[in-house]
Amino acid sequence: MNASWALPLAGLAVAAALGSAASSLLAARWPRALTVLAFPMLGVSGIAAQAAGLIALASGARQTTLLPAGLPGLPWHVAIDPLAGAFLLMLGAVLLPVALYGPGYVRAFRNGRDSLATLGACTGLFVAGMLGVLLAADAFLFMLAWELMSLASYFLVCFQHDQPESRRAAFVYLLLAQVAGLLILMAFGVLATTGGFAFPAMRAAHPDATWAAIAFILALMGFGTKAGLVPLHVWLPEAHPAAPSHISALMSAVMLKVALYGFLRVVFDLLGPPQWGYGITLVVVGATTALLGAMLAVQQVDLKRLLAYSSIENLGTVFLALGLAEIFQAAGHPAMAALALLAALFQALSHALLKALLFLGAGAVQHGAHTRSLEQMGGLLRRMPRTGWMFLVGCLGMSAVPPLSGFVSEWLTFQAALQAWRLHDSLLRILVPLAAASLALTTALAAVVFVRAFGIGFLGRARSRQVRHAHEVGDGMLAGQAWLVASIAGVALFPVLVASLLGSAVLQLTGRVPGSPGWLWLTPLGPTTASYAPLLVLAVLLGVGLLGWVVLRPRRGAPVRRVDAWGCGYAPPTPDMQFSAMGFAQPQRRVFAPVYALREGFAGSAYEVVAGDRSWSWIYRPLGALMDRTADLARRLQAGHVRRYLAWSLLTLLLLLWIVS
């Protein structure tokens, strides 16, 4: 296909998202408008975004245009290049299944007090905002689209505003989103001093080292807040569970990636030459985020909160890989930097698909079993078999076991880290293996997180009445999940093809392309150094499993005898005797005790253990108290007397005159 189609297709995606927002307004009078118009248009937007992304990646060219809008002297620049293409692909790949899933999910809200029109309109604007961020090629349009994305998602988070925790989550989210927006604006401000607000001008001009470092810190904090880097992550586990599940899927799978895109665009594309100092910062921040995210995820009882903490962990590993890329690039090993960057992009893609699947699965559970608490679930695999098996695929993928897609990115990151022997600086040579060690620990913790989520939630026996009467969800919701499972299988089994697609984005940023010849063997460093063939792994697993089944099948063909479970010779065990979700994670709570803000005690009639996040008590509560005290001081100025205000005005005027003179 012709490369010049990329930009028109991306424009179609934006138009379809805006159209979806507009058509949802009809839902105030005609609730079916969401099913008939809004969600199909979101699907169209998803397909168009995917196609545009694929074309941009395959052609490897940048295509720019000016829009007849914007400020005087600063028209809106729009561009699509392989980097934007990679993220358009992720966005589209998640948006399409969400559009399939949405109609069944929002049906539950139809008879409620919540406005479907608001939900649909904000969803469309949210998607349009994310597309705009990916397509913008000047700081003005970028910030405009960024704020559209933030504000629309704020309204989506507080959609169920009759619940106090939703309102609180939305407030925290809005606060941090605004702070993040301000920081990003300042980062662009630093970059724009030497050139202009358009990206090509920023790319051409490089600020000096001090200003570049300031811009890096601002960008890291701004985009890092949105991406959920510790300690700026606190909004994420509040906001993601509060939103409706298909929105949670979009926020966790795509919006965090849009933040990642912004960071990549500013630091790897616009900022200028790489510095190893940036790399060290990224590795340390990424490793801390990943470890803390995993440690907190393992203690969550709310399934969606657990998934949100797991997103924090995954973004941490992505930033760790980015740090490796920056270190290798600064040390003059562009091929190794390309490998690390490929690992980061692969992890982003894989996480987008897996986390979308898991959030849609959690939404299906909420729909079918009316709970999000693991302590009430159990045995859902038999009551919701299709959702259950697909959720298992997601859990296996997140635990990074072969032959699923999460493993490929982990493998690539490890391979990049193992190239540390090429580095000359001894600090870096120690830091990179330490990062690999923390990543290994994170991966093992992620396995605990998802064994626990699936084992407690979907296996065993129902722990509550509503879960005992759970029902499978409708076809549309299943189709959305099935689409994601198919995409995950494609990414997992043909990593070489995916890597060669993402490779053109890597080529754009590092100047090298990490190549694996053929399609079966993933050999980014040459066939003798390391190789992995997921298709063969799957074939052997299936072959051996089937062979064992055929050989061991009983001759008579009698059905398996069913008996009660073993109860030491006493009465058979009851559901209450099963391990609880908090009980399962008790060893981790004991080993990592200093990390958690532990609270135990009786809440009503039930004994409750909560392992909270210490960043609230260490950072945010003191910060809030400081703000209150500062506000108290400022209040003394406002006594309510006109005389005093006039005096203040006069003093200010005198001061200004003194400065000017």
Partner: protein, 318 residues
């Protein structure tokens, strides 16, 4: 001819491991019995048990889901595939290309994932207890194992286990401090991963102390046979992994059946030595309290990390 031989090798090595796994467990048991002044069971007992279980009817709990019946096959297949990635008597093992050392650890992770889920599936307290404890062990044992592999990969510049062994064979025989730390960590991890004393007791049936037995408590018949065979294979896998990574001397490096025949006796001696080490340590040590286990595992993790750092600091000149 070479292609045919390598295909033969790819099939023969894992099958040989599979066939020898019950024997290895029996040999460890025999050594242990002799050390404790007992006569011990005949070496063919594990084979007889497997045959007995395979022939018996499988009984499944009423509360079990389909996953419970699928899990033994997945656990068995992924453990066997992990074993197929190991060079047993020949370093140029084709299986090591399909799955390198990191994939091998990932496959063991897949087996563990399914085993733990099977433990949780029936919904009994024992299964949950075993599952929770197994994940505690895995939480530290898996990263420690990865770090051991990383230490060797940084030295040999490859993660292909066959190429690692070959690099050690061809390199100068120097005593590397990093290898000492890594070997100690690997042995500690192997004991924990395979559920041996002092972390778990393979012969216990006291419900409150068991880890592996707790998870497979509900299994019977052919399912139990597969689970137990996979556990035996895992023990032999760790023994062969130790040989490949740290004692590769004597492995064949040429693709020829005569070289293989020469490599086998030395391999048997090395495996018997490792079995003896395990038997002695199981005889002199007592099982730990469960909450001592994290300390033990953290020590293994730190040893592996020390190995990695001592490689970076002491051995590789920038």
């Amino acid at each position: 001819m070479d292609r045919l031989l390598s295909l033969l090798l790819a099939l023969l090595q894992p099958l040989a491991l599979l066939a020898a796994a019950p024997l290895f467990t029996a040999v460890v048991g025999r050594f242990k019995a002799r050390l404790q002044n007992r006569r011990g069971v005949p070496l063919k007992t594990p084979y007889r048990e497997l045959r007995k279980w395979a022939a018996k009817e499988a009984v499944v709990a009423r509360t079990a889901s389909p996953l419970f019946r699928a899990a033994p096959y997945i656990v068995f297949a992924s453990t066997l595939l992990a074993a197929a990635a190991l060079p047993v008597w020949e370093t140029a093992s084709p299986g090591a290309h399909v799955a390198d050392a990191i994939v091998l650890i990932g496959l063991l992770g897949l087996a563990r994932f399914m085993l733990v889920l099977a433990g949780l599936d029936v919904g009994t307290p024992f299964g949950g207890m075993g599952a929770s404890r197994e994940m505690l062990v895995a939480n530290f044992a898996e990263p420690a194992l990865l770090l051991v592999v990383f230490t060797l990969a940084m030295t040999t510049h490859t993660t292909n286990i066959g190429a690692m062994a070959a690099a050690t064979l061809h390199g100068a025989p120097v005593l590397r401090p990093s290898y000492m730390f890594a070997l100690a960590a690997l042995l500690m991890v192997a004991v924990a991963e395979c559920g041996r004393i002092p972390v778990d007791n393979p012969s216990t049936h006291l419900e409150l102390t068991m880890i592996h037995e707790g998870m497979v408590l509900e299994y019977s018949g052919r399912h139990l046979a597969l689970m137990e065979w996979a556990a035996q294979l895992k023990l032999l896998l760790f023994a062969v992994l130790t040989v490949d990574l740290f004692l590769p001397w004597g492995l064949a490096t040429r693709m020829s059946p005569t070289a293989w025949l020469l490599a086998l006796p030395l391999l048997l001696v090395k495996l018997a030595g490792l079995a003896l080490v395990l038997a002695v340590s199981e005889t002199v040590l007592a099982k730990m309290r469960l909450f001592r286990v994290p300390g033990y595992l953290t020590l293994a993790f730190l040893l592996a990390l020390l190995g990695l750092l001592s490689h970076v600091i002491l051995e590789s000149a920038p």
